[in-house]
């Protein structure tokens, strides 16, 4: 069959995006792997670095520590999030949307902000220090509390989705069979949500084991893998060992990723076209219990954020509690000043703009193009890879790859461009999946019709696909923006004098002991993300209505 102009264009675009992912992900990962088997002078030494790693008890102990906090956090977060999600989907309590919004707050702040807040709450000068009963917040206790706060919304979103697909016909059957509600829970609710819960568990596990902000701030002397990477590279100038710890860190993350993919595939089969959405029944006692539970969790979340807000306004904790804006004078602190905040905004805008274009176009070719089957599946595979790579590892890999003098792309090292590329890559997969889901909802007939009318595919793309997918496109843009504002791990090795970032400034100010200004900068990130989120909601409500009117029209 002769290839048409469309086919060539498709191949062209698929190759461009494929090459982008190769350069932004595969090559750097190769660089980090090869660095881990080299010595300082770049000579291949086999597994010598790994041997010296595993013969260092302090470093190996971090593996146990990392697994320990990840598993404990996973159990706590999943339990708490499950009940919360259950309340939101299966009860008739009041204020559901308020609770849901509060539960999403942790997504809008850098992970380490919760650690800073805990220091003010339970540290040696903390408001509630007596509640610690002599235990030290610096260490596993602090890490786990902060990680639960940080991972809660991620788990919640997945479990809500899983619970809301429970088929109402099964609940009806259970009712007819006079099954007790507890029995219904174990035979109907739990099995249908099983895969969602497993998936959420692995997401939490990966988030915790790869997070380094929280253990850095509140871990005290409790070493974990992610902090070891940072310490080896930043503190000890030992890049080879940093590469080794990175490779060790990839394994659990990769494993969780593979299991999650397998589980996700099974999940799809549960929801069939005949499923009916289950509407909860009113039950005074149950609704009240759920209301109390959700209130308690919400108070916890609001306390963490509220404490940071208060701490950022206190002049000199704990000896001068008068309020002032002194801590917002970032130009006088270690860490980057107000410039870092404006840089973050710029970086987030670039990331949202370019990231959305790349991701959506990529997803479009994966989902909609008729020709070049192999190219499409390779592109899809490449798009899934970033999720398995921890941000810290990606950042380190970028140093090895882009700062190599023989690399023709060397010139982007130390610029805004490398931060944007790294951040887009780091958050590529989730955006890719969002775009795919939205594109799958659009009937392929559009493509068939326009190609039989001899219209080039890009006309259909711009006139049909993009307008229909606007909600998803905005969603992806917001996702990129918010994450670009909060990410620390992916960019901490890559920022330069001109491109310091707010999230990194939070880390560095905490490092220097300027913890109140760190809280203040964290709050700036929170205000920005919250404002963007609110604007987004307004836009989707008001303006998108025009584009999406056709959806609500009765057939």
């Amino acid at each position: 069959m002769k290839k048409s102009r469309d086919d060539y264009l498709t191949i062209f675009f698929i190759s461009i995006i494929g090459i982008y992912i190769l350069i932004a992900l595969a090559f750097p990962m190769y660089a980090i792997l090869s660095k881990s088997v080299e010595n300082k002078d770049g000579i291949f030494i086999g597994f010598e670095n790994y041997q010296s790693y595993f013969s260092n008890p302090a470093l190996v102990y971090s593996i146990y520590n990392s697994l320990f906090i990840s598993i404990i956090t996973m159990v706590i977060t999943i339990s708490l999030a499950f009940v919360f999600a259950y309340a939101l989907t299966k009860s008739c309590m009041i204020g559901k949307s308020v609770f849901r919004s509060i539960a999403m707050i942790p997504i809008l702040v850098p992970s380490l902000l919760s650690g800073i807040s805990l220091i003010y709450l339970f540290g040696k000068q903390g408001i509630f220090r007596d509640l610690m009963m002599g235990y030290d917040i610096y260490g596993p206790i602090g890490i786990i509390i902060a990680e639960v706060f940080y991972t809660f919304p991620h788990a919640l979103l997945i479990i809500i989705t899983a619970l809301s697909i429970g088929d109402a016909r099964l609940y009806e059957a259970a009712k007819v069979l006079r099954s007790k509600s507890i029995r219904t829970f174990f035979t109907v609710t739990l099995p249908s949500a099983k895969y969602g819960v497993i998936s959420a568990a692995f997401v939490v596990f990966t988030l915790v084991i790869t997070d380094f902000g929280i253990p850095k701030v509140i871990g005290g002397q409790f070493n974990v893998l992610a902090v070891d990477v940072y310490k080896q590279v930043i503190g000890q100038q030992n890049f080879e060992m940093g590469a080794v710890v990175s490779v060790v860190l990839i394994f659990p993350a990769l494993l969780a990723f593979v299991v999650d993919r397998i589980v996700q595939r099974k999940q799809v089969a549960i929801l069939t076209s005949r499923s009916v959405v289950h509407e909860p029944n009113k039950s005074k006692k149950f609704d009240l219990i759920m209301l109390i539970y959700c209130s308690v969790i919400s108070v916890f979340i609001l306390t963490i954020i509220g404490m940071c807000l208060y701490a950022s306004l206190v002049t000199f904790w704990p000896y001068n509690l008068s309020l002032s804006l002194d801590n917002y004078q970032f130009d006088l602190m270690d860490g980057g000043g107000w410039d870092s905040y404006y840089n973050s905004i710029r970086m987030a805008c670039y990331t949202a703009f370019f990231g959305t274009i790349v991701v959506f176009t990529g997803a479009y070719f994966v989902e909609k193009s008729r020709s070049v089957k192999t190219g499409r599946s390779i592109l899809h595979l490449l798009s899934m890879m970033p999720m398995a790579i921890p941000g810290l590892v990606l950042g380190l890999a970028y140093i090895f790859f882009f700062n190599h003098p023989d690399n023709p792309l060397n010139f982007i090292y130390g610029t805004m461009a490398i931060l944007v590329i790294c951040t887009i890559t780091h958050f590529y997969t989730v955006s890719h999946l969002t775009a795919l889901t939205s594109l799958k909802q659009i009937d392929n007939e559009f493509e068939h019709v326009s190609s039989s009318l001899k219209q080039p595919f890009y006309k259909t793309f711009f006139r049909v696909t993009v307008p229909i997918s606007l909600p998803a496109i905005f969603e992806i843009g917001i996702y990129f923006f918010v994450n670009a504002m909060t990410t620390v791990s992916a960019v901490v090795f890559l920022y330069s004098s001109k491109t310091n970032l707010a999230s990194v400034a939070v880390l560095n100010m905490d490092d220097a002991g300027d913890i109140a200004p760190a809280a203040a900068m964290g709050m700036m990130i929170f205000y920005t993300n919250a404002a963007v989120r609110i604007i987004y909601v307004l836009i989707t409500k008001k303006i998108l209505v025009r584009f999406q009117k056709w959806r609500t029209k009765t057939v």
Binding site: A58, Y61, N223, K231, L332, S496, D511, G513, I515
Partner: protein, 339 residues
């Protein structure tokens, strides 16, 4: 096809414009305290308004790590204010453009590289000290320490913070000074006992003092200048000068080999050891590289200068790696069961 070529060349020109360092600006790596950077740049610009300074500031260990990492592809033009031991290490790696700045002969010989032309020049020194929060000490009923040895008293268990020498220049100068004061064996024995009292090791050298200032720990092993600053801000702290003597480290400058702005870098290197610059350093630092310039600094303990040990930088620089490795294997994981 022609169209595409034009577009590509446009894009590349655009990107090159974005990333090319423009003449008249210097990328300066430093570990000087952040609050001083603006003042330093402004004072320099009084004499050289056409040279713009772009600071890259971080803890000593981090700046050192960054420079070593970028060895094959240096991003910095010049170093202004980084630990002397780090610079000696980098000189050994052949990373510097040897250049004796104008007026180098006016410096104290300790504050310059012995070779001709010199690879680095020292500007000032920072000195170890212990910040003690008087409010918290009174709360716990502790007596004030007066020596390093006092810090190992069992009553302070869990109440002392000190910087991790792997990342902090202050932490490293503490460790290297203890090894010189108490001897190799005595030094490690002292640190073993001190370790029992340590609440946590911090990443940066200023943090223990800031934590002492805010009462997060009663005792912070840090440096005098930080203590003086916190005291000036109204923190209830005393700056203790341990009686055995205190370690110190100089901050020094060097031009990176391969800088694409050598002329401006030389101008800055000259200016940074001028009398005007020394007076500028003296606002915060009690010890500067040019003898006879320094005046007393507010809140600075007067006993400190006499307590500075005769520091063997050669020892510190050559043994840096071994000392850090030994330290890490002994103390870097407080999570392990204490023996």
């Amino acid at each position: 096809m022609k169209k595409i070529t034009t577009i590509i060349s446009f894009i590349s020109v655009f990107f090159l414009n974005l990333v090319n360092a423009n003449a008249g600006s210097l990328t300066v790596y430093t570990a000087i305290e952040a609050e001083d950077l603006k003042r330093y740049a402004a004072t320099f610009n009084e004499d050289h308004p056409d040279i713009e300074i772009n600071w890259v500031r971080d803890s000593t260990g981090i700046v050192t790590a960054k420079l070593l990492a970028e060895k094959n592809n240096p991003q910095a033009d010049i170093i202004w204010g980084l630990a002397g031991t780090s610079l000696m290490l980098m000189k050994g790696e052949g990373m510097f453009e040897p250049y004796s700045p104008k007026g180098i002969d006016k410096l104290d010989p300790k504050f310059r590289d012995g070779d001709e032309p010199a690879s680095w020049t020292g500007i000032d020194a920072w000195v170890a000290a212990v910040c003690v929060n008087t409010v918290e000490m009174a709360k716990h009923g502790f007596s004030m320490p007066s020596s390093w040895e006092d810090l190992t008293k069992p009553e302070y268990a869990g109440h002392v913070a000190m910087p991790n020498p792997n990342s902090s220049g202050t932490g490293f100068l503490d460790v290297s000074s203890w090894l010189q004061i108490f001897g190799e064996d005595g030094g490690w024995d002292f640190m073993d006992r001190l370790h029992n009292n340590i609440s946590h090791y911090t990443h940066s050298g200023s943090k223990p003092c800031k934590q002492a200032a805010s009462g997060e720990v009663p005792i912070g092993v840090s440096f005098a200048f930080r203590g003086a600053r916190s005291k000036a801000k109204g923190a209830p702290i005393e700056i203790i000068v341990p009686s055995e003597g205190v370690g110190w480290e100089m901050e020094a400058n060097a031009i990176l080999k391969g800088t694409d702005n050598l002329e401006d870098a030389k101008t800055l290197a000259d200016w940074a050891i001028s009398k005007k610059a020394m007076e500028m350093y003296n606002v915060a630092y009690a010890v500067v590289g040019m003898p006879g310039v320094a005046k007393p600094v507010e809140h600075f303990p007067p006993a400190l200068l006499g307590a500075m040990i005769k520091n063997d930088f050669e020892f510190a620089a050559t043994n840096r790696k071994a000392i850090l490795a030994e330290w890490q294997s002994r103390y870097d994981s407080k999570s392990e069961p204490k023996s």
